[in-house]
Amino acid sequence: MIKVENLTKRYAGVTAINNLNFEVEKGEIVGFLGPNGAGKSTTMKILTSYLPASSGRATIAGFDVFEQSVEARKRLGYLPENTPLYTDMRVSEYLRYRANLKGVPGRKLKQSVGDVLELCSLRDVEHKLIGALSKGYRQRVGLADALVHDPDLLILDEPTIGLDPNQIRHVRELIKNLGGKRTVLISTHILPEVEIMCSRVIVIHKGKIRASDTAENLLKNQRTAGSMRFEAKVGSDPAAAALQKLPGVKDVTVDQDGDYSVFQLRLEANTDPSEDVMRLAASKRWAVREITRRRPTLEDVFVELTHSDS
């Protein structure tokens, strides 16, 4: 559905994206991750023909976004960052205008607008001025606009920003339900969102792709590993040293909490020394209060991929 080849965009002296290559298949929901200024929005703007690329090419459903931009644009729905809308129009009037503009035939107009009003729960505000709506409603009007012509591809730039937790849940459900039939490219820096919604993640940093895989695989292959918290009454035992010697343990720090010692174990990748820890505790007869393994999260992956300047 989307094919990006050697895409580069330079603004006066700054390279926003550098030689980007990726593909998105039909029906995928792809999360586009990266810190602010990584080039997510720039890439999306090029895909939607809003900006021309400096070099390289991108196609949507086989149509070049520069050469055959109108054909490409017919097939996509786009929700820009900050959701710009005509504040002087009413919700349903705006959606009718947008549907017309995107070539929805007259006989299907009422149906299409009605559908997206339902889908985005906008029925109760359909006659209100957009300027009078809250941020959450505006966001949903933007989403309804992106969906109104039933596009094959949705490009959503931070769709859940500014929404309250209930609305976020609602929008996530909505996007998740769109998958399969439609292709979705969604940028965000809310990480749990990606794990919930997306079938694949593309991590971009400083204009380059750092990783492109399912969230699961990213976690599995991640180099910095998880950690373990272990609380036990160990008396004066040199427990830290004993724990340190276990296979898979990188280092140990100790805190005191009353009679109990609280150990933080940093672990190597893909290791789980919990059995060894329990065996050690049993053999030394420590009273164990808590043992918790903290799995690496997407946040760890994200930090690792985008923190270093390498």
């Binding site: 703007k45 809003y50 900006l51 109108v70 710009p84 005509y86 002087d88 503009l101 070539g103």
Partner: protein, 251 residues
């Protein structure tokens, strides 16, 4: 065509969403009415050698509101899209840039015609009530409004170009007001500077809207101003398209 009509009707409606349309309409109607009434009074007082149409459109009371109306109706058109960021939703819909530029031009021009509709009617009413011709012939009446339309095209296109240059409405209005003011009053330069050379005077007269109005309100159709206004409108609109694309791609 459907795309163009959709854009056009949004553009035209947007005038009436804001109070600007009503304010401009009110003030224009008021001044045009006062001007019309005042000139009738004047002509009533003593035998005149000019027609109502000729005298009405020769007055400062006509020219000043006329010049001022263009910045007011055009300043918002592009600036507002830039400022609110709606340029992005507009241009990522499957529409071509020239469709946007032409639709905006057509929308503004149509509103300008709405501004003039009451005046058009007041002359008709005059003829109906008094039984006298407001102009020296029906043709003169039409040529006057033809010129108003042609000048409107040119000055609207200047205003739109100014609006496409900036996201600040006030700056857009200032630019277009200055340029249109120059277009109207620069041709008086030879008079002001006491230049007697007939060649120079004639050149300036070619470009003088005031001179054009004097001719057209008598019913004289001169093809030179027609070509001048049409070609300048085309040029301004072409430049607007270029500026629009440049600003979009720079964004």
């Amino acid at each position: 065509m459907k795309t163009f009509l959709t854009l056009f009707s949004r553009e035209l409606k947007s005038f009436f969403y804001s109070p600007i349309a009503y304010v401009v309409l009110f003030y224009f109607l008021l001044l045009a009415g006062v001007n019309f009434w005042y000139q009738i009074q004047l002509v009533n007082g003593y035998p005149a050698e000019v027609t109502i149409v000729e005298i009405v459109f020769a007055q400062a009371l006509f020219w000043f509101p006329f010049i001022l109306s263009f910045p007011l109706i055009t300043m918002r058109v592009y600036s507002e899209e830039f400022r609110m960021g709606t340029l992005e939703t507009l241009t990522t819909a499957p529409v071509k840039d020239w469709q946007i530029v032409l639709a905006k031009f057509a929308g503004v021009l149509f509103f300008y015609c709405i501004l003039w509709a009451p005046s058009f009617l007041s002359f008709a009413t005059f003829q109906y009530i008094t039984g006298h011709n407001a102009a020296n012939a029906a043709g003169a009446y039409l040529t006057t409004f033809l010129l108003l339309f042609l000048m409107g095209m040119f000055f609207c296109s200047i205003g739109l170009l100014a609006s496409a240059l900036t996201k600040d409405q006030i700056i857009a209005a200032t630019i277009s007001f200055s340029v249109i003011l120059l277009c109207v009053f620069l041709p008086f330069l030879p008079t002001v500077m006491n230049i007697t050379s007939p060649a120079i005077k004639e050149i300036f007269a070619y470009f003088s809207p005031v001179q054009h109005m004097e001719d057209f309100s008598k019913g004289i159709i001169d093809s030179r101003p027609v070509v001048w206004y049409l070609s300048m409108t085309a040029l301004m609109t072409y430049l607007t398209l270029q500026v629009f694309q440049f600003r979009k791609w720079k964004a």
